[in-house]
């Protein structure tokens, strides 16, 4: 099985304003990108399961020129609230690293 960590040379997460978080998955090459850019395993349900996001507020983009898949979601509580643990969301990518890309969409 190939994980996000196997297929990508760089994965990052960051705020996109106080209400959204965005992930950039930089795939190792065009072949890896081509194989996994549309992987059902990276669908909205994954983000809902991992981050408590509303799956209808998950956006996903393929950027072929950079071999990048971008996934953005609306946070369940806005930046800086009572339960904040990661103000910049800069550590949120870690939970994506072990996701298996050959798998089906989580149910």
């Amino acid at each position: 099985m190939t994980t996000v960590n196997d297929a990508c040379h760089h994965v990052r997460s960051k705020n996109a304003g106080p209400y959204w978080v965005t992930f950039d998955l930089f795939f190792k090459d065009a072949e890896m990108f081509g194989r996994y850019a549309d992987s059902p395993a990276l669908g909205p349900q994954l983000i809902a399961d991992l981050f408590g996001a509303d799956p209808s507020l998950v956006k996903r983009f393929a950027v072929p020129s950079l071999n990048v898949v971008k996934i953005s979601y609306a946070r369940s509580s806005p930046q800086g609230g009572v339960v904040e643990r990661d103000m910049h969301c800069g550590q949120q990518f870690v939970r994506l690293l072990d996701v298996e890309l050959d798998g089906h969409a989580p149910s």
Binding site: N15, P18, F61, S65, S72, G80, R85, R95
Partner: protein, 461 residues
């Protein structure tokens, strides 16, 4: 500009982050027409807007302003600063203004300074909301008066128009309140007839200074050159370079959509943009499209809400290390019980969380079964309550349990490692963003107030 490209020095990603004099000199030698930089962001949280304070310290901002004001005055080109003082509220802008006046006096220069205020009065916003002119952005719902009242400060993010008006009126220095990063960098080119697509796209690429370069540790800023067919970007440090990947990848950064960026009065669409190296350190970008739309300004509102008190311990006890999740759950239950039994209903709707640093503090998720025990963890106790006094009382009630809670009752009471006395720290309010809405205006200047300080006239008088 006589038909050639319009060249803008973007000396740093944020005023106070460290502009470099030699970089600015290089930009001037290339014939730059203006210096522009942003001075803030919502990134570091709502406290800066709620309190009207800067994140960058005064000395750093003054140092950068001195380099940039000196260069602008010597070359006779404008200096344009947006989102002054981190959040761009009126207090943040006035703080920056006072530093600029101090620097002008020290340099012996007499610039004409335009101050663009975009903090919003609550009554005005309520009236606009009643007219249906304020609409929500996902994931928030429609705005109500109570939310407006809950905010300490509310700003509307300006587009380029107030800057263009100030430049036309002869400003040497513009200090702006909250503005989109892109608008600050695009305004000069837009005023001088550059096409909108490349002007906005250049602004987006350069918004974080050298972030769009290959070696981000070499230097601070970039030079953008905008012409009728596109734009070019190069680092201000000779040993650094831009390549098509470093430049195009910046559209990903802190954006939820890598192709379309909504700005006041339109959408920048870079879906068909082409990034081509001009030489080994400069990239040319063509194909950026600007789609005009009805004019909207994004609102940001921040408020202090409930209060927190924190305590911190370190634990190395191997029995606890082997059962961190169980320890967490038992201790949290005991702390809630302790507050209920000692303070009771007076504690109100309080909240306690324990963040197990070294185990799962960043996510709060339970690590997979079989994760090896850590060598030690730090446990951060966070109590949240309606007043600082109550948050403090809750922490004091929890204090003996937090520092001595046993994993099992058959052993003597442990003492965990704490570093300070008193051990509880009143952290102050929780600062939160309250708004994610846009206001629809017919006139880009309608919600902006421009004030002038003309130091030449001050001297003459």
């Amino acid at each position: 500009m006589s038909g050639g490209p319009i060249k803008i020095i973007v000396p740093t990603g944020s005023l106070g982050a460290g502009a470099l004099e030699e970089e600015v000199r290089y930009g001037l030698a290339q014939g730059a027409h203006a210096i522009a930089t942003d001075a803030g962001s919502t990134d570091s949280g709502a406290a800066y807007l709620a309190l009207g304070i800067s994140k960058n310290n005064r000395g750093s901002v003054k140092r950068d302003l001195k380099i940039l004001m000196k260069a602008g005055a010597e070359a006779g080109i404008p200096l344009i600063i947006g989102t002054s003082g981190q959040a761009g509220g009126d207090k943040n802008l006035d703080w920056t203004r006072d530093i600029a006046l101090e620097v002008a006096a020290e340099l012996g220069i007499s610039p004409r300074i335009a101050l663009l205020y975009s903090e919003q009065d609550k009554q005005t916003l309520k009236a606009l909301n009643a007219q249906g002119r304020i609409t929500p952005l996902a994931p928030v719902g429609p705005l109500d008066d109570a939310t407006i009242d809950a905010c300490d400060h509310i700003v509307a993010a300006m587009g380029p128009e107030p800057y263009m008006a100030a430049l036309q009126a002869g400003a040497d220095i513009i200090l702006g309140g909250r503005t989109t990063d892109t608008a600050v960098l695009a305004c000069f080119a837009l005023l001088h007839g550059a096409p909108a697509g490349p002007s906005w796209h250049a602004g987006k690429v350069a918004e974080c200074g050298a972030q769009c370069t290959v070696y981000r540790d070499r230097g601070s800023g970039v030079l953008i050159s905008i012409d009728q067919g596109g734009f070019e970007v190069e680092p201000l440090t000779q040993s650094n370079r831009c390549d098509p990947e470093s430049v195009s990848a910046h559209m990903l950064y802190e954006n939820s959509d890598p192709f379309r960026l909504t700005e006041p009065g339109g959408v920048l669409d870079v879906t068909d943009a082409a990034y081509v190296p001009v030489d080994d350190r400069t990239v040319r970008v063509t194909g950026s499209v600007w789609e005009p739309k009805p004019y909207t300004m994004k609102l940001e509102g921040a408020a202090a809400s409930r209060f927190q008190t924190v305590m911190l311990i370190g634990i190395q006890d191997p029995d606890v290390m082997a059962r961190v999740d169980e320890f967490h759950d038992k201790m949290l239950g005991a702390l809630y019980h302790r507050v209920h039994s000692t303070i009771g209903e007076a504690a109100g709707d309080f909240h306690i969380s324990l963040r197990m640093y070294g185990w799962n503090a960043v996510s709060g998720d339970k690590p997979p079964v079989g994760t090896p025990p850590p060598r030690e963890i730090g446990v951060l106790f966070v109590a949240t309550a309606d007043t600082q006094e109550m948050a403090s009382q809750i922490a004091k009630a929890c204090n003996p349990y937090f520092f001595h809670f046993p994993l099992s009752m058959d052993k003597e009471l442990p003492s965990y490692g704490f570093a300070f006395t008193p051990a509880d720290i009143d952290r102050g309010p929780v600062y939160e963003f309250k708004l994610n809405h846009v206001v629809h205006v017919d006139d880009p200047m309608a919600l902006v107030r421009t004030e002038w300080i003309d130091l030449q006239k001050v001297e003459a008088a």
